[in-house]
Symmetry: C2
Subunit: 144 residues, 2 copies
DNA sequence: AGCGTATAGTTGACTATATCAACTATTGGG
DNA sequence: CCCAATAGTTGATATAGTCAACTATACGCT
Protein backbone atom coordinates (compact mmCIF):
# COMPACT_ATOMS: atom_id res chain seq x y z
CA UNK A 1 0.00 0.00 0.00
CA UNK A 2 2.19 2.87 -1.18
CA UNK A 3 1.51 6.30 0.22
CA UNK A 4 1.82 8.83 -2.51
CA UNK A 5 0.64 12.21 -1.35
CA UNK A 6 1.25 14.23 1.73
CA UNK A 7 -2.43 14.38 2.57
CA UNK A 8 -3.01 10.67 2.35
CA UNK A 9 0.08 9.99 4.43
CA UNK A 10 -1.16 12.38 7.05
CA UNK A 11 -4.66 11.05 7.17
CA UNK A 12 -3.63 7.46 7.25
CA UNK A 13 -1.09 8.10 9.94
CA UNK A 14 -3.44 10.06 12.16
CA UNK A 15 -6.11 7.42 11.80
CA UNK A 16 -3.73 4.55 12.51
CA UNK A 17 -2.29 6.37 15.45
CA UNK A 18 -5.70 7.00 16.90
CA UNK A 19 -6.68 3.37 16.54
CA UNK A 20 -3.43 2.15 18.03
CA UNK A 21 -3.55 4.48 20.99
CA UNK A 22 -7.10 3.46 21.60
CA UNK A 23 -6.16 -0.20 21.57
CA UNK A 24 -3.24 0.42 23.85
CA UNK A 25 -5.46 2.33 26.19
CA UNK A 26 -8.25 -0.19 26.17
CA UNK A 27 -5.68 -2.89 26.68
CA UNK A 28 -4.67 -0.98 29.76
CA UNK A 29 -8.25 -1.00 30.96
CA UNK A 30 -8.52 2.74 31.22
CA UNK A 31 -11.72 4.39 30.09
CA UNK A 32 -9.89 7.08 28.19
CA UNK A 33 -9.62 8.13 24.59
CA UNK A 34 -6.96 10.02 22.71
CA UNK A 35 -8.35 13.42 23.60
CA UNK A 36 -8.46 12.56 27.28
CA UNK A 37 -4.85 11.63 26.99
CA UNK A 38 -3.97 14.91 25.32
CA UNK A 39 -5.74 16.76 28.13
CA UNK A 40 -3.83 14.84 30.75
CA UNK A 41 -0.56 15.69 29.06
CA UNK A 42 -1.39 19.34 28.93
CA UNK A 43 -2.46 19.36 32.54
CA UNK A 44 0.76 17.62 33.46
CA UNK A 45 3.00 19.99 31.59
CA UNK A 46 1.19 23.22 32.41
CA UNK A 47 1.38 24.61 35.87
CA UNK A 48 -1.73 26.46 36.88
CA UNK A 49 -3.61 24.80 33.99
CA UNK A 50 -7.13 25.93 33.16
CA UNK A 51 -9.64 24.58 30.68
CA UNK A 52 -8.84 27.56 28.54
CA UNK A 53 -5.20 26.56 28.33
CA UNK A 54 -6.30 23.23 26.94
CA UNK A 55 -8.53 24.96 24.42
CA UNK A 56 -5.63 27.15 23.35
CA UNK A 57 -3.17 24.29 23.05
CA UNK A 58 -5.43 21.90 21.22
CA UNK A 59 -7.43 24.30 19.08
CA UNK A 60 -10.61 22.40 19.86
CA UNK A 61 -13.97 23.77 20.78
CA UNK A 62 -14.26 24.80 24.39
CA UNK A 63 -17.47 22.80 24.76
CA UNK A 64 -15.61 19.67 23.85
CA UNK A 65 -12.89 20.45 26.35
CA UNK A 66 -15.41 21.21 29.07
CA UNK A 67 -16.91 17.77 28.60
CA UNK A 68 -13.60 16.00 28.49
CA UNK A 69 -12.54 17.70 31.70
CA UNK A 70 -15.84 16.84 33.29
CA UNK A 71 -15.24 13.20 32.50
CA UNK A 72 -11.73 13.31 33.89
CA UNK A 73 -13.13 14.76 37.07
CA UNK A 74 -15.84 12.14 37.27
CA UNK A 75 -13.14 9.50 36.88
CA UNK A 76 -11.40 11.18 39.82
CA UNK A 77 -8.22 11.64 37.88
CA UNK A 78 -8.33 15.39 37.97
CA UNK A 79 -9.73 17.95 40.34
CA UNK A 80 -10.51 21.57 39.77
CA UNK A 81 -10.27 24.43 42.17
CA UNK A 82 -11.02 28.08 41.70
CA UNK A 83 -8.11 30.44 41.42
CA UNK A 84 -7.93 32.69 44.47
CA UNK A 85 -7.34 35.80 42.43
CA UNK A 86 -9.81 35.09 39.68
CA UNK A 87 -12.68 32.85 40.60
CA UNK A 88 -13.62 32.39 36.96
CA UNK A 89 -10.48 30.37 36.45
CA UNK A 90 -10.74 26.78 37.54
CA UNK A 91 -7.30 25.34 37.94
CA UNK A 92 -6.91 21.70 37.01
CA UNK A 93 -4.58 19.35 38.77
CA UNK A 94 -4.06 15.64 39.13
CA UNK A 95 -5.45 13.69 41.99
CA UNK A 96 -3.31 10.95 43.43
CA UNK A 97 -5.06 8.48 41.20
CA UNK A 98 -4.44 10.83 38.32
CA UNK A 99 -0.75 10.87 39.00
CA UNK A 100 -0.63 7.11 39.24
CA UNK A 101 -2.53 6.68 36.02
CA UNK A 102 -0.46 9.22 34.19
CA UNK A 103 2.66 7.25 34.99
CA UNK A 104 1.11 4.12 33.56
CA UNK A 105 0.00 6.09 30.57
CA UNK A 106 3.47 7.34 29.86
CA UNK A 107 4.72 3.79 29.76
CA UNK A 108 1.95 2.74 27.37
CA UNK A 109 2.67 5.72 25.16
CA UNK A 110 6.33 5.02 25.04
CA UNK A 111 5.47 1.58 23.80
CA UNK A 112 3.28 2.99 21.05
CA UNK A 113 5.92 5.52 20.12
CA UNK A 114 8.62 2.88 20.09
CA UNK A 115 6.52 0.74 17.79
CA UNK A 116 5.80 3.69 15.56
CA UNK A 117 9.46 4.63 15.31
CA UNK A 118 10.78 1.14 14.80
CA UNK A 119 13.55 1.18 12.23
CA UNK A 120 13.89 4.96 12.33
CA UNK A 121 16.82 6.81 13.79
CA UNK A 122 16.42 9.37 16.55
CA UNK A 123 17.49 11.99 14.08
CA UNK A 124 14.75 11.00 11.66
CA UNK A 125 12.15 11.20 14.38
CA UNK A 126 13.40 14.61 15.46
CA UNK A 127 13.33 15.80 11.87
CA UNK A 128 9.85 14.45 11.45
CA UNK A 129 8.58 16.31 14.47
CA UNK A 130 10.35 19.47 13.39
CA UNK A 131 8.79 19.35 9.94
CA UNK A 132 5.37 18.59 11.39
CA UNK A 133 5.78 21.57 13.68
CA UNK A 134 6.68 23.80 10.76
CA UNK A 135 3.61 22.60 8.92
CA UNK A 136 1.41 23.32 11.90
CA UNK A 137 2.81 26.82 12.11
CA UNK A 138 2.33 27.32 8.40
CA UNK A 139 -1.27 26.31 8.70
CA UNK A 140 -2.02 28.37 11.75
CA UNK A 141 -0.19 31.56 10.95
CA UNK A 142 -0.26 32.48 7.29
CA UNK A 143 -4.02 32.38 6.98
CA UNK A 144 -4.59 35.11 4.41
CA UNK B 1 3.13 26.86 21.11
CA UNK B 2 5.99 24.36 21.02
CA UNK B 3 5.21 20.83 19.94
CA UNK B 4 7.10 18.48 22.14
CA UNK B 5 6.03 14.93 21.53
CA UNK B 6 5.43 12.91 18.45
CA UNK B 7 1.85 12.22 19.37
CA UNK B 8 0.91 15.82 19.95
CA UNK B 9 2.59 16.86 16.72
CA UNK B 10 0.65 14.21 14.87
CA UNK B 11 -2.68 15.03 16.39
CA UNK B 12 -2.31 18.72 15.98
CA UNK B 13 -1.21 18.36 12.40
CA UNK B 14 -4.00 16.02 11.44
CA UNK B 15 -6.56 18.27 13.09
CA UNK B 16 -5.20 21.42 11.46
CA UNK B 17 -5.03 19.72 8.13
CA UNK B 18 -8.60 18.56 8.38
CA UNK B 19 -9.81 22.03 9.28
CA UNK B 20 -7.81 23.64 6.50
CA UNK B 21 -8.94 21.23 3.84
CA UNK B 22 -12.49 21.67 4.97
CA UNK B 23 -12.18 25.42 4.71
CA UNK B 24 -10.58 25.18 1.30
CA UNK B 25 -13.35 22.89 0.19
CA UNK B 26 -16.15 24.96 1.61
CA UNK B 27 -14.56 28.01 0.07
CA UNK B 28 -14.83 26.20 -3.22
CA UNK B 29 -18.50 25.59 -2.63
CA UNK B 30 -18.27 21.85 -2.90
CA UNK B 31 -20.32 19.76 -0.54
CA UNK B 32 -17.43 17.43 0.22
CA UNK B 33 -15.41 16.55 3.26
CA UNK B 34 -11.94 15.16 3.64
CA UNK B 35 -13.04 11.56 3.31
CA UNK B 36 -14.94 12.28 0.12
CA UNK B 37 -11.78 13.78 -1.22
CA UNK B 38 -9.76 10.74 -0.29
CA UNK B 39 -12.30 8.54 -2.05
CA UNK B 40 -12.12 10.66 -5.18
CA UNK B 41 -8.36 10.40 -5.20
CA UNK B 42 -8.45 6.66 -4.88
CA UNK B 43 -11.05 6.36 -7.60
CA UNK B 44 -8.89 8.57 -9.80
CA UNK B 45 -5.70 6.64 -9.27
CA UNK B 46 -7.16 3.15 -9.31
CA UNK B 47 -8.35 1.70 -12.56
CA UNK B 48 -11.26 -0.64 -12.12
CA UNK B 49 -11.84 0.79 -8.64
CA UNK B 50 -14.38 -0.87 -6.36
CA UNK B 51 -15.66 0.12 -2.94
CA UNK B 52 -13.52 -2.61 -1.54
CA UNK B 53 -10.39 -1.03 -2.98
CA UNK B 54 -11.24 2.11 -1.06
CA UNK B 55 -11.77 0.12 2.12
CA UNK B 56 -8.41 -1.54 1.63
CA UNK B 57 -6.55 1.69 0.92
CA UNK B 58 -8.08 3.74 3.68
CA UNK B 59 -8.46 1.11 6.39
CA UNK B 60 -11.89 2.48 7.22
CA UNK B 61 -15.04 0.56 7.91
CA UNK B 62 -16.82 -0.63 4.79
CA UNK B 63 -20.09 0.82 6.02
CA UNK B 64 -18.54 4.24 6.11
CA UNK B 65 -17.18 3.82 2.61
CA UNK B 66 -20.51 2.58 1.31
CA UNK B 67 -22.14 5.74 2.58
CA UNK B 68 -19.47 8.02 1.23
CA UNK B 69 -19.75 6.42 -2.18
CA UNK B 70 -23.49 6.68 -2.07
CA UNK B 71 -23.17 10.39 -1.46
CA UNK B 72 -20.71 10.81 -4.30
CA UNK B 73 -23.16 9.07 -6.56
CA UNK B 74 -26.03 11.21 -5.38
CA UNK B 75 -23.89 14.26 -6.14
CA UNK B 76 -23.46 12.80 -9.62
CA UNK B 77 -19.71 12.91 -9.37
CA UNK B 78 -19.27 9.18 -9.58
CA UNK B 79 -21.18 6.36 -11.17
CA UNK B 80 -21.06 2.69 -10.47
CA UNK B 81 -21.47 -0.18 -12.85
CA UNK B 82 -21.33 -3.89 -12.26
CA UNK B 83 -18.29 -5.74 -13.47
CA UNK B 84 -19.16 -8.03 -16.36
CA UNK B 85 -17.22 -10.95 -14.98
CA UNK B 86 -18.22 -10.55 -11.37
CA UNK B 87 -21.51 -8.88 -10.78
CA UNK B 88 -20.74 -8.44 -7.09
CA UNK B 89 -18.09 -5.89 -7.96
CA UNK B 90 -19.40 -2.43 -8.64
CA UNK B 91 -16.80 -0.46 -10.50
CA UNK B 92 -16.62 3.21 -9.67
CA UNK B 93 -15.72 5.85 -12.19
CA UNK B 94 -16.01 9.59 -12.55
CA UNK B 95 -18.83 11.22 -14.39
CA UNK B 96 -18.04 14.23 -16.52
CA UNK B 97 -18.92 16.45 -13.62
CA UNK B 98 -16.72 14.30 -11.44
CA UNK B 99 -13.78 14.84 -13.74
CA UNK B 100 -14.35 18.56 -13.82
CA UNK B 101 -14.61 18.77 -10.08
CA UNK B 102 -11.58 16.64 -9.51
CA UNK B 103 -9.51 19.06 -11.55
CA UNK B 104 -10.68 21.94 -9.44
CA UNK B 105 -10.00 19.91 -6.36
CA UNK B 106 -6.45 19.22 -7.37
CA UNK B 107 -5.83 22.92 -7.68
CA UNK B 108 -7.30 23.61 -4.24
CA UNK B 109 -5.23 20.82 -2.75
CA UNK B 110 -2.06 22.05 -4.29
CA UNK B 111 -2.71 25.36 -2.63
CA UNK B 112 -3.18 23.71 0.75
CA UNK B 113 -0.09 21.60 0.23
CA UNK B 114 1.93 24.61 -0.86
CA UNK B 115 0.84 26.47 2.24
CA UNK B 116 1.64 23.51 4.42
CA UNK B 117 5.09 23.09 2.92
CA UNK B 118 6.01 26.73 2.92
CA UNK B 119 9.63 27.14 3.91
CA UNK B 120 10.38 23.44 3.52
CA UNK B 121 12.55 21.95 0.81
CA UNK B 122 11.28 19.27 -1.54
CA UNK B 123 13.71 16.90 0.07
CA UNK B 124 12.28 17.60 3.51
CA UNK B 125 8.78 16.95 2.28
CA UNK B 126 9.84 13.72 0.63
CA UNK B 127 11.59 12.64 3.81
CA UNK B 128 8.55 13.53 5.82
CA UNK B 129 6.29 11.41 3.66
CA UNK B 130 8.78 8.55 3.71
CA UNK B 131 8.97 8.60 7.49
CA UNK B 132 5.21 8.82 7.80
CA UNK B 133 4.90 5.85 5.48
CA UNK B 134 7.35 3.86 7.60
CA UNK B 135 5.33 4.70 10.69
CA UNK B 136 2.14 3.57 9.02
CA UNK B 137 3.76 0.28 8.09
CA UNK B 138 5.11 -0.13 11.60
CA UNK B 139 1.67 0.37 13.02
CA UNK B 140 -0.10 -1.90 10.60
CA UNK B 141 2.33 -4.75 10.38
CA UNK B 142 4.13 -5.53 13.61
CA UNK B 143 1.00 -5.93 15.70
CA UNK B 144 2.13 -8.57 18.17
C1' DA C 1 -25.72 -30.31 -10.87
C1' DG C 2 -26.24 -28.63 -6.04
C1' DC C 3 -24.26 -27.55 -1.62
C1' DG C 4 -21.48 -24.80 1.40
C1' DT C 5 -18.49 -21.10 1.94
C1' DA C 6 -16.27 -16.82 0.72
C1' DT C 7 -16.68 -12.18 -1.03
C1' DA C 8 -18.85 -7.41 -2.30
C1' DG C 9 -21.80 -4.45 -0.94
C1' DT C 10 -25.89 -2.45 1.73
C1' DT C 11 -28.41 -1.11 5.67
C1' DG C 12 -29.98 -0.08 10.62
C1' DA C 13 -28.77 0.99 15.04
C1' DC C 14 -25.57 2.81 17.69
C1' DT C 15 -21.45 5.31 19.76
C1' DA C 16 -18.11 8.76 19.62
C1' DT C 17 -16.46 13.13 18.31
C1' DA C 18 -17.04 17.81 17.23
C1' DT C 19 -19.41 22.26 16.68
C1' DC C 20 -22.67 26.12 17.43
C1' DA C 21 -25.13 29.14 20.10
C1' DA C 22 -27.11 30.61 24.22
C1' DC C 23 -26.36 30.98 28.93
C1' DT C 24 -24.15 32.11 33.93
C1' DA C 25 -20.66 33.99 36.79
C1' DT C 26 -16.89 36.76 37.58
C1' DT C 27 -13.70 40.29 36.55
C1' DG C 28 -11.45 44.75 35.51
C1' DG C 29 -11.84 49.33 33.39
C1' DG C 30 -13.89 53.57 32.84
C1' DC D 1 -21.60 51.20 39.59
C1' DC D 2 -22.23 49.71 35.10
C1' DC D 3 -20.45 47.47 31.04
C1' DA D 4 -17.57 44.86 28.05
C1' DA D 5 -14.61 41.04 28.25
C1' DT D 6 -13.40 36.50 29.88
C1' DA D 7 -13.97 31.50 31.82
C1' DG D 8 -16.71 28.04 31.86
C1' DT D 9 -21.19 25.29 31.30
C1' DT D 10 -25.00 23.36 28.87
C1' DG D 11 -28.46 21.85 25.14
C1' DA D 12 -29.14 20.88 20.59
C1' DT D 13 -27.30 19.26 16.60
C1' DA D 14 -24.03 17.71 13.18
C1' DT D 15 -20.39 14.75 11.61
C1' DA D 16 -17.65 10.67 11.74
C1' DG D 17 -16.84 5.99 12.71
C1' DT D 18 -18.23 1.20 14.26
C1' DC D 19 -20.74 -3.22 14.76
C1' DA D 20 -23.71 -6.66 13.29
C1' DA D 21 -27.12 -8.50 10.36
C1' DC D 22 -28.49 -8.95 5.81
C1' DT D 23 -28.64 -9.76 0.34
C1' DA D 24 -26.63 -11.24 -3.77
C1' DT D 25 -23.23 -13.21 -6.48
C1' DA D 26 -19.29 -16.26 -7.21
C1' DC D 27 -16.22 -20.07 -6.47
C1' DG D 28 -14.85 -24.72 -5.14
C1' DC D 29 -16.11 -29.17 -4.33
C1' DT D 30 -17.72 -34.04 -4.26
Amino acid sequence: MPQTSLSSALFTLAQSYRVTVREAINANELGLNAMHVRCLHIIAETQHCTANDIVAKTGRDKAQIARLVKELIKLELVSKCADENDKRCLILSFTEQGNALFSRLEVAEQEVDAKLCHGLTDQQVRDFIAIATTMIENINHNTP
